[in-house]
């Protein structure tokens, strides 16, 4: 389960790619891809296994000048959707 201490890492089979057609960031993996909204793209870029969920929330809250609770719910929602698709790797 994802908690504030989890250090999420995008699965090694997936990678981010800038899409010059739409200006969006895409998360590509075998046979599929997701088009990310700007916040999701920022979250995904921080899913390197180094940052905890709490640290990601803090960073994005200051970056967007938004309430941490609102950011946290957005982060958790996005990370769960990645996990459901098997796109998050468990920390070793």
């Amino acid at each position: 389960m994802i908690s504030a201490d989890t250090r999420p890492r995008i699965a090694s089979k997936a990678r981010l790619r800038y899409d010059r057609k739409t200006g969006r960031t895409m998360l590509l993996y075998p046979e599929k891809g997701l088009v990310l909204n700007p916040t999701a793209a920022e979250i995904a870029k921080l899913c390197t296994g180094e940052h905890s969920v709490a640290a990601i929330v803090t960073q994005l809250a200051s970056q967007y000048g938004k309430d941490a609770a609102a950011i946290e719910s957005e982060v958790m929602k996005f990370l769960s959707s990645l996990a459901e698709r098997g796109l998050l790797q468990e920390a070793n």
Partner: protein, 365 residues
């Protein structure tokens, strides 16, 4: 060009040559012998033009793509365009050194197929002693730090091995397991009676796969692709004709799917003669089944028409002789009895012997 018609994936069939002879091969049966493969320069141009049209993912497939001596160069070209590149291979014939070159060139994912859980079963289907080598190749992929997809095509003789297949994939530390039921086109249609499972077999294995998917979330992605013959409604084949995919055949035909050139009366263009952009927007073959105007009833007024885009045109043609008909796997299709009959045959027991992919059989047809 609207986003409604944007290709995201290029399927590059680099060659129809293959050392394996799997009796469910999706390559067209008459075409195994065709020569005249595109050269390196042309493929690199195809990649560039595809990326320009919006393609972000590339499947290098065949036949057996590693038979191409220029594969390293093609991978490097794809990487330069930042395409997500997936190599779809049997792993035969490969060396660790060459795989290392693929990695250095920027390959994103390696998909290796095995045909069953042991050498006896797997080699029987492949028509070649290959299972042990394939496992070795899987080991190299992981040793070199690359993501591994293990692909197993399912049919009545291996569906009951799904639990063991999952265990094998775990042992190999696969990142992704693709349990893909046979789709009954190409060689698989020739061998349908020998391959089509019963509904009970399918349901039992589906449950095992679903449990594995849940258990392994975060470690290994488990995919289970159901055969159209048991889904009641057709799949959105290729996400709709000419909507999301470009397939280029070994000799340069640009197609909406890998079997579209088996449909009579359609004209497809060669990438040697026209640009991908011109073909994508202007080819009569690409436009033949886009949108809804071509649809017959009951598709035309069906509320699922925007979901499945009318299903599979090749299935319609190869089962009924009419490429513009309703996909017979749909319960609403007037021709659905053809699929019910096939399912009935699967229950009838003793299956005929497999007919292996070969040039000789293809020539005799």
């Amino acid at each position: 060009m609207s986003d409604e018609l944007r290709p995201y994936t290029l399927v590059a069939e680099l060659t129809y040559r293959c050392p394996l002879r799997c009796p469910y091969c999706s390559n067209p049966i008459e075409w195994a012998k065709r020569k005249n493969e595109l050269d390196t320069e042309t493929w690199l141009r195809v990649f560039r033009e595809a990326e320009d049209l919006g393609v972000v993912g590339l499947n290098l497939t065949g036949g057996e793509p590693i038979l191409r001596r220029d594969l390293e160069e093609l991978i490097a070209g794809a990487r330069k365009l930042d395409l997500y590149t997936n190599l779809i291979t049997s792993g035969i014939p490969l060396t660790r050194e060459r795989l290392e070159k693929f990695r250095a060139a920027g390959l994103d994912n390696v998909q290796v197929s095995v045909q069953d859980i042991d050498a006896k079963g797997s080699d029987r289907i492949a028509g070649l002693r290959s299972f042990e080598t394939k496992l070795e190749v899987c080991g190299w992929v992981k040793d070199l730090g690359m993501p591994l997809t293990l692909n197993v095509v399912l049919h009545r003789d291996n569906l009951e091995h799904v639990a063991e297949i999952v265990a094998l994939a775990e042992r190999l530390s696969a990142d992704r397991l693709e349990l893909a039921n046979t789709q009954y086109l190409g060689w698989a249609l020739v061998n349908r009676r020998a391959l089509l499972p019963t509904r009970d077999q399918l349901e039992a294995s589906r449950k095992i796969a679903a449990a594995a998917r849940k258990r392994l979330l975060g470690k290994m992605e488990v995919l289970f692709v159901t055969p159209d013959y048991y889904t009641d409604y057709p799949k959105s084949c290729m996400d709709g004709w000419g909507r999301r995919f470009i397939v280029v055949s070994p000799d340069g035909l640009m197609l909406p799917c890998h079997a579209a050139h088996t449909l009579p009366g359609l004209k497809f263009d060669n990438v040697r003669e026209r640009s991908l952009a011109a073909i994508w927007s202007g080819s009569s073959g690409f436009n033949a089944f886009r949108g809804e105007a071509w649809m017959p009833e009951p598709c035309r007024s069906c509320d699922k028409r925007g979901v499945d885009f009318g299903g599979c045109r090749c299935q319609a043609y190869h089962l009924t002789g009419n490429a513009a008909g309703t996909d017979p796997t749909c319960v609403l299709a007037p021709s659905h009895a053809l699929v019910e009959t096939a399912r009935g045959e699967a229950l009838a027991g003793e299956a005929p012997a497999l007919r292996y992919r070969s040039v000789r059989i293809a020539a005799a047809r």
